[in-house]
């Protein structure tokens, strides 16, 4: 356990050496490191991280901080080739404004981010600039317009009565 923590600290030092001024803060919790960088320097830091051995993105996700009016986008990155780095998953995060949310796409640097960014785009309505193919992936256009994973989206309560449901489905464009 102590060895693991030491290794994590060494990786933290590596990140600080690689990214230098770009880092706002590094959060460390149970074998997981989260690096927060400003949005303008996201692409630059991603390039630096790729050069230092992080070769793929495991997942892209967004967190909706509705009280602060912010989105936090996190790229979970790791390595296949570098044995030392492959034991850890590092979060590369950035914070953007909640109204008119957009940020530069990292799919040109890590190809595996392309589909994940499309998923974030349709569930949160966050636009990725210069993404090669930003189309809907899983949802139909009507549902995607609701931005279902945002905190201010409320699902309508369904009734127990089947007849009421029939009327609702007949009157609304339900898909």
């Amino acid at each position: 356990m102590v060895g693991e923590v030491k290794k994590l600290i060494s990786i933290q030092d590596l990140l600080k050496n690689v990214l230098k001024d770009n880092v706002i803060s590094i959060e460390q919790n149970k074998g997981y490191l989260d690096v927060l960088v400003p949005t303008e320097k996201l692409v630059e830091s991603a390039k630096k991280l790729k050069d230092s051995g992080f070769d793929h993105v495991k997942s892209v996700t967004a967190i909706d901080y509705i009280a602060k009016k912010q989105f936090k986008i996190t790229y979970h990155i790791s390595s296949y080739l570098n044995e030392e780095l492959s034991k850890y998953i590092i979060g590369l995060s950035t914070i953007i404004n909640r109204d008119n949310p957009h940020l530069p796409s990292l799919s040109r640097i890590w190809v595996s981010a392309e589909f994940q960014e499309r998923e974030v785009y349709e569930f949160f309505g966050i636009t990725f600039d210069d993404h090669p193919d930003l189309r809907l992936l899983l949802l139909t256009p009507v549902i995607a317009a609701l931005k279902p994973l945002r905190k201010d989206y409320v699902v309508k309560e369904e009734s127990d009565d089947i007849e009421v449901d029939y009327v609702a489905y007949n009157t609304n464009k339900w898909w």
């Binding site: 899983l138 949802l139 139909t140 256009p141 009507v142 549902i143 609701l146 279902p148 699902v155 309560e157 369904e158 029939y166 489905y169 464009k173 339900w174 898909w175």
Partner: protein, 212 residues
């Protein structure tokens, strides 16, 4: 006979026509299906319920077990088949998303009459764990369902039970022969129209194309 006389022009007047083959076949079918042959059709349908291979959700694993060697649903004369054109039963396995509903309906429309449907799992009854969600539909809004199987997921024995129940329904109520005759089901009226189900595709789906 009368149909052909209307169609034929003056040159064909002297010839003798047996009749339009399609109308003759239609009349013969209607006459035959009334009596004992209709019952035989029901009996034959009850022991040849072939489900189409359409896995919408996680209950599909139980389907695999139900037709496997241990539970062996093939002993009821039922065999899972890949093409909707050669099958007469849909088992909707679990939840149906709004995008998948289009595929379910297209598969249903491609199947020949008489055809039946079984809905499986809690999600197909009232939504299950996806109750009050923004992206699911109930299977009974997409196709007419004959038998429901509760459970999350139901055991393979429950699937066997559903097959037996459907066989009973077929032979007691004699519905197979009826639906061959009319080539439609009356209980399709409360169901969401295909244009709504497949509207998100933005393209016209021609269901009458035949794959020869």
């Amino acid at each position: 006979m009368s149909k052909n006389e209307e169609k034929g022009n003056g040159e064909e007047k002297g010839r003798f026509f047996i009749g339009d083959l399609d109308t003759a076949a239609e009349m013969a079918k209607n006459a035959l299906l009334k009596g004992t042959i209709g019952k035989m059709v029901d009996w034959a349908n009850a022991f040849s319920l072939w489900p189409v291979h359409l896995m919408t959700s996680c209950c599909g694993c139980e389907i695999g077990a139900a037709w496997g060697p241990r539970f062996d649903n093939e002993r009821y004369g039922s065999l899972p088949w890949v093409s909707p054109r050669q099958t007469n039963l849909i088992i909707v396995e679990g939840t149906v998303t709004k995008k998948m509903a289009c595929s379910v309906r297209i598969t249903w429309d491609q199947m020949p009459y008489p055809k039946f449907a079984i809905a499986m799992g809690a999600c197909s009854l009232d939504g299950g764990i996806f109750y009050n969600s923004y992206n699911i539909v109930r299977p009974w809004q997409v196709i007419p369902i004959d038998v429901y199987i509760p459970g999350c997921p139901p055991r393979p024995e429950a699937v066997s039970r559903a097959i037996v129940e459907l066989q009973k329904l077929l032979r007691n109520k004699s519905i197979a022969a009826n639906w061959i005759k009319e080539a439609k089901r009356e209980d399709m009226k409360n169901i969401i129209p295909k244009e709504d189900l497949c509207g998100w595709r933005g393209e016209k789906v021609d269901l009458n194309t035949r794959f020869t």
